[in-house]
C-alpha cells in the first residue's frame, strides 16, 4: 500500500479480469482511462496556471493581481473560461476557414500530447517508449505548424508577419535546444525519459550546466516569451499570429502557451533536475508527484521571471544569438562531453561528475572571455563609429509587395 496509484491500477485490472474480458481489451481500456485521467489532470493544471501567471505578473509589476473571486482570487480563471465560452466567434473575411479553425486545436493538442512520455513519479508515467526524447522533439515541432497555420489562414498582414517571425525563431532555436537534450541522452545512454530520470543520482544540471542554460534559453524562444516575443510585439504588430482570433479560439492559444511553458518547466526538471527524484520518492512514489510538480513550477516561475525582466530583442540580434553563439557553443560542449564520457569509462562516479563539471566551467570561462572581448568591440563601434568598417550595409526594402 506504498503507492495508491499502482494499487488502484491493480484493483481495476483485477476487476476487469473478473468481468471476463480478454487481456488485450483490458490493456486498451486501462490505457484509455490513463489517457483521459492524464489529459484532464493536465488541463486542470492549465486552468490553475492562468491564476498563477496573472498573480505572478502582478507581483513582478508591484500590483495585487486577481483577488476578488474566491480566496486569493482562485476562481478568477473559471470566470475567465465562462466569459470566453459565451463570447461571439468572429471569422475574419477572406480567411481560410478550415486551417483557421484547425490551428488553435493543434496548438493545445500538441502540448497535451507531450505529457504522454513525461514521467511524473516512479510509477506514474504515461508511456515509457524507447524514443521518448525524439518524441518530444517531433511533437513539439507540430506546435510550429499550428502557428504558421494561424498566421497564414487569418488573412491579416500583422498575423502573417508574426507567424513568419515566430517560425524563423522557433526553427532556429530548435537546433541548440535539441542538441542540449542530446547531452542528457549521452549521459544516460537512453532516450527513454524514465531511464534519464533514474540515472540521475547526481542531477544533470551539475554534470551539464551549459546544456541546462542553453535548454532554458531555447525553451524561452520556443515559447515566444520575452526577450524573444517578436512574434507578438505589441508595439509593432499588435498581437502577432493570433490577432484575428476571438473567444475560445484565442483562449485555446492562450491556454496552449501557458501549458507549453509549464511543460517546458517539467521537461527541464526531467532532463536536468532529476524529475521526480527526492527524499523518499523511491519508497513512497506518491511523494515523487509532489517533487516533480515543485520542480516544474519552480522552472515555470524562472521562465516567467526572465519574461518579465528583459526587454525585447531585435530579429537580427535574435538570429545572430542563436546561429553565431548558441549553436557553436552547444556543438563544442556536445563534442567534448562525448569524448570525455568515453575516456572516463570505469573511473569512480564522483571523479566523473567532477571532471564533467570542471570541463563545463572551463568552457564557460572561455565563453566569458570571448563574449567580453566581442562586447568591448561593439561598445567601441558605438563610441567611435568612424573607425569601423561596415560589412553588411543595411538595405531599405522599397518594394511595397515585400513584407519582412
Amino acid at each position: 500500500m506504498a503507492d495508491p496509484v499502482t494499487f488502484i491500477a491493480q484493483w481495476l485490472r483485477d476487476y476487469l479480469t473478473n468481468l471476463g474480458l480478454a487481456s488485450e481489451w483490458i490493456s486498451v481500456i486501462m490505457a484509455a482511462l490513463g489517457v483521459v485521467v492524464l489529459a484532464s489532470a493536465v488541463l486542470l493544471v492549465d486552468i490553475f496556471l492562468v491564476w498563477v501567471e496573472r498573480k505572478v505578473v502582478a507581483r513582478f509589476q508591484d500590483r495585487l493581481g486577481p483577488n476578488r473571486l474566491g480566496p486569493f482570487g482562485l476562481f478568477q480563471p473559471i470566470a475567465d473560461v465562462i466569459k470566453l465560452l459565451i463570447k461571439e466567434d468572429i471569422t475574419p473575411q477572406g480567411a481560410d476557414k478550415f486551417v483557421y479553425n484547425l490551428a488553435p486545436i493543434l496548438a493545445l493538442a500538441t502540448v497535451i500530447m507531450l505529457w504522454a512520455v513525461i514521467p511524473i513519479s516512479a510509477t506514474v508515467a504515461g508511456s515509457t517508449i524507447n524514443v521518448g526524447a525524439l518524441y518530444i522533439v517531433a511533437v513539439g515541432a507540430i506546435g510550429t505548424l499550428s502557428i504558421i497555420m494561424a498566421g497564414w489562414a487569418s488573412h491579416n498582414k500583422y498575423a502573417l508577419l508574426g507567424a513568419f517571425r515566430m517560425v524563423a525563431q522557433m526553427i532556429s532555436y530548435e537546433v541548440p535546444m535539441v542538441i542540449a537534450i542530446l547531452i542528457p541522452v549521452i549521459l544516460a545512454k537512453s532516450m527513454t525519459l524514465t531511464d534519464i530520470v533514474e540515472s540521475q543520482s547526481v542531477w544533470y544540471i551539475v554534470l551539464a550546466p551549459i546544456a541546462a542554460i542553453v535548454f532554458l534559453i531555447g525553451a524561452q524562444a520556443e515559447l515566444g516569451r520575452a526577450p524573444f516575443d517578436l512574434s507578438e510585439a505589441e508595439s509593432e504588430i499588435v498581437a502577432g499570429f493570433h490577432i484575428e482570433y476571438t473567444g475560445m479560439k484565442f483562449g485555446l492559444f492562450y491556454a496552449g502557451e501557458l501549458l507549453h511553458a509549464m511543460t517546458f518547466g517539467g521537461l527541464f526538471a526531467t532532463f536536468f533536475l532529476g524529475g521526480w527524484r527526492g527524499w523518499g520518492a523511491e519508497t513512497y512514489p506518491i511523494l515523487g508527484i509532489g517533487y516533480f510538480f515543485i520542480k516544474a513550477m519552480f522552472m515555470y516561475w524562472v521562465i516567467m521571471w526572465i519574461k518579465y525582466s528583459f526587454p525585447r530583442v531585435r530579429i537580427d540580434q535574435m538570429l545572430n544569438f542563436c546561429w553565431k553563439f548558441l549553436t557553436p557553443l552547444i556543438l563544442t560542449v556536445l563534442s567534448i562531453t562525448a569524448i570525455m564520457d568515453k575516456l572516463l569509462t570505469g573511473v569512480p562516479y564522483w571523479i566523473y561528475v567532477l571532471a564533467m563539471l570542471l570541463m563545463n566551467l572551463v568552457v564557460l570561462y572561455f565563453v566569458y572571455r570571448t563574449v567580453g572581448s566581442y562586447a568591448r568591440k561593439e561598445r567601441q563601434k558605438v563610441a567611435d563609429p568612424a573607425k569601423v568598417r561596415v560589412n553588411f550595409p543595411v538595405k531599405a526594402s522599397t518594394t511595397p509587395t515585400q513584407v519582412s
Binding site: V28, A32, L85, I105, K157, V167, I179, K189, E244, Q402
Partner: protein
C-alpha cells in the same frame, strides 16, 4: 513495448478531443450576429490595402535551409548517443567528425553572409 505505443496512439486520438469540445460549446452558447464591419481584417482601424498572401522576404527561406541541415544531423546523432556504451573510442571520434563536417558547413554559410539579416 506495444502497450507503450498503444498509450501514445490513444493520446494522439484523445488530445484533440478536448480543444474540439471547447470549440463546440461556444457554438451553442455564444451569440451569433455577423456583420460585414465586424469581420473586416483588423489593422488598428485602417482599411487593409491589397492582398495579404503575397511574396515575402526570401531570408526566412535561407534560415529554414540551414535549419533543415542541422535537424537532419540531430536525427542521426540520437541513435549514436543511445548506442554510446557499445561504441569504441573510434566510433565516438567518427561521430564527432560528422558534427565537425556540419560545423564547417555552418562556417561556410556564415562567411557567405546567409546568417546576416538585413
Amino acid at each position: 513495448m506495444l502497450n507503450d505505443w498503444l498509450f501514445v496512439g490513444l493520446m494522439l486520438v484523445m488530445a484533440p478531443i478536448f480543444p474540439i469540445a471547447a470549440l463546440i460549446i461556444p457554438r451553442i452558447l455564444a451569440p451569433k450576429k455577423p456583420n460585414p464591419l465586424k469581420s473586416q481584417t483588423y489593422e488598428c482601424g485602417i482599411e487593409t490595402v491589397g492582398d495579404t498572401w503575397i511574396q515575402f522576404k526570401a531570408q526566412y527561406y535561407n534560415f529554414a535551409l540551414v535549419f533543415l541541415v542541422f535537424d537532419v544531423e540531430i536525427v542521426f546523432l540520437f541513435p549514436w548517443a543511445v548506442a554510446f556504451n557499445q561504441l569504441p573510442l573510434y566510433g565516438v571520434i567518427v561521430g564527432i567528425l560528422f558534427i565537425e563536417v556540419l560545423v564547417i558547413g555552418l562556417i561556410y554559410a556564415w562567411r557567405k553572409g546567409i546568417l546576416e539579416w538585413f
